[in-house]
Each structure stands twice: as structure tokens, then as C-alpha cells.
Amino acid sequence: MNEPNQEYLKLVRKTMPKTKHFSTLLRAFLVGGTICSIGQGINDIYTLVFKDMPKEDITAITLLTIIFITAVLTGFGVYDKIGAFGGAGSIIPITGFANAVVSPAMERKQEGIILGLCDNMFSVAGPVIVFGISSSVLVGIIALIFKSWFI
């Protein structure tokens, strides 16, 4: 009774409208490129302002600035429109990560600060943290074992 009807699924694949590849890819390229260029711009400004700061720190505060801008845009309800236009172009930059943290936090505030906002803050971006930290530990252990390769 519950067997998938393969013939029907084939028909669905054949007749249903497809994603417009060219248009979505172009928009992802433009939005992604623009966000990265803005990041480079902020980076250049910080390099000029904080002359003594090491490169890593400049990168860190650049990312922090971008995260802040994204959070504000998300708060004012603008980022979801950028997302609807840019697709992956707005997900893959760090802005997408910030948006994925801020949007559920805002959304769930109605269910309370602790059980709503804080509990659901990482409902979309949680996997990123889990995989990110786990993979970094794994890489660290690999580095311990194959020390010579990394030096």
C-alpha cells in the first residue's frame, strides 16, 4: 500500500517546473561577490585606521563588523529580501551564518527569553557550531599525529 509509485514520481520529475539555473546562479554570483567586496572594503579601511594591528585581528574585526551589519539588517527585516534575491549568495558568506543565528532568536522571543529566544538561537546554525568545533578538534588531533607534515 505504501510502495512509492515510481511511474508517478517519474511523471512529476518530468512535468513539474524547474529552477531557473541561469538567473539564480547569476544572482548568487552578484550578491556573493558584492558581500565579499564590501568585506574587503571594511578590511581595507581597518588596515588604514589600525596600522599596528596584526592581519588576523583585522580579519576578525572585519567579520565582526559584517556580522553586526547583518544582524541589524535582519532586525529591520531587510536581510530576508536580500536572501530571496541572492539565494546561496547570501547564505554562504558569514552574513548568512549571522542571519541564521539572529532570525530564529527574533522569531522565538514571543515564546519567552530563556525558552524561546535563547533556546532556539541555534536552531538553524547549531549544526555549523557542532560540525565546526568537532572538525577543528579532529584536525588538531590529525596535526598531533602527523606533526611533520604540518611544520
Binding site: 539564480t24 546562479l25 548568487a28 554570483f29 556573493g32 561577490g33 558584492t34 565579499c36 567586496s37 568585506g39 574587503q40 578590511n43 580579519t59 576578525a60 567579520l63 565582526l64 556580522i67 544582524a71 541589524v72 535582519t74 532586525g75 530576508d80 530571496a84 541572492g86 546561496a88 549568495g89 547564505i91 554562504i92 558568506p93 558569514i94 552574513t95 548568512g96 551564518f97 549571522a98 541564521a100 543565528v101 539572529v102 532568536a105 527574533m106 522569531e107 522565538r108 522571543k109 529566544l117 538561537m121 538553524v124 547549531g126 555549523v128 560540525f131 565546526g132 572538525s135 577543528s136 578538534v137 584536525v139 588538531g140 588531533i141 590529525i142 596535526a143 598531533l144 606533526k147 604540518f150
Partner: protein, 122 residues
């Protein structure tokens, strides 16, 4: 002229990374979470095999702003920690390298979450 070339490279690298992501979305209907995880792991992997620093050199912010940069920082920090401090460094290094970003995201999201209200999509 040189600055124009730099920004062109940034735009190209950042844009192309996003195009790869869009291809994944179009063909596999993946959601945000999966896309982010896949690219983060890809960044960590490229850093571990030592390729990412060349991309970063070429693409600058085009390579650090995408979530791949986050993955590469995590891996870079873990490797650095492991080499200098041993086992504890392997655990500490990754988080330490992205601590600014993580702490920033959490605090900012908390404040914005308290202040802002979601709106309906138009």
C-alpha cells in the same frame, strides 16, 4: 588600477564560491543549515591539506568572508594549537581562533533578538 584588480579578484572568488553553493541548492534542494555545514567542512578540509592559504592570498576577503573562511580559521587554529601545546592545544586552538566571531554573533543576536520583531514576507 591595482586596487581595482584586487576587488575584481575578491568579487570573483566570493561570487564563484556562492555559485557552487547555488548549484548545490538547485540540484539537491538543500536547506541553509546543510549548505553552511558543507562549506564550513570544505573550508576546514582545504586548510588542512594546505590549499586554502593560496585561495586566501588570491581572493582576500572573497575567501575569508564566506563560511569557508570560518572553517579554515578553525582548522588553522587547531593545527597551530596542536603543534605548540599538544593535545590541549588541539582542543583549544580551533575555538580560540574564531572566538571573536562566535562571541560577537551570540551577543549581537541576543540583543537584536530582544529588540526586533519578525515581519511578514511581502
Amino acid at each position: 588600477m591595482e586596487i581595482f584588480l584586487t576587488y575584481l579578484k575578491v568579487f570573483l572568488v566570493g561570487g564563484l564560491i556562492c555559485v557552487i553553493g547555488q548549484l548545490l541548492i538547485n540540484y539537491t534542494k538543500m536547506t541553509s543549515s546543510r549548505i553552511l555545514v558543507i562549506f564550513l567542512l570544505l573550508g576546514a578540509f582545504l586548510e588542512t591539506i594546505g590549499v586554502y592559504k593560496y585561495i586566501e592570498e588570491f581572493g582576500k576577503a572573497g575567501a575569508t568572508v564566506p563560511i569557508l573562511g570560518f572553517g579554515s580559521s578553525l582548522a588553522k587554529g587547531a593545527i597551530k594549537g596542536a603543534l605548540s601545546e599538544g593535545f590541549l592545544g588541539a582542543l583549544r586552538g580551533g575555538i580560540e581562533s574564531v572566538a571573536v566571531g562566535f562571541a560577537g554573533v551570540i551577543v549581537i543576536a541576543f540583543i537584536v533578538g530582544l529588540l526586533a520583531r519578525p515581519k511578514t514576507k511581502q
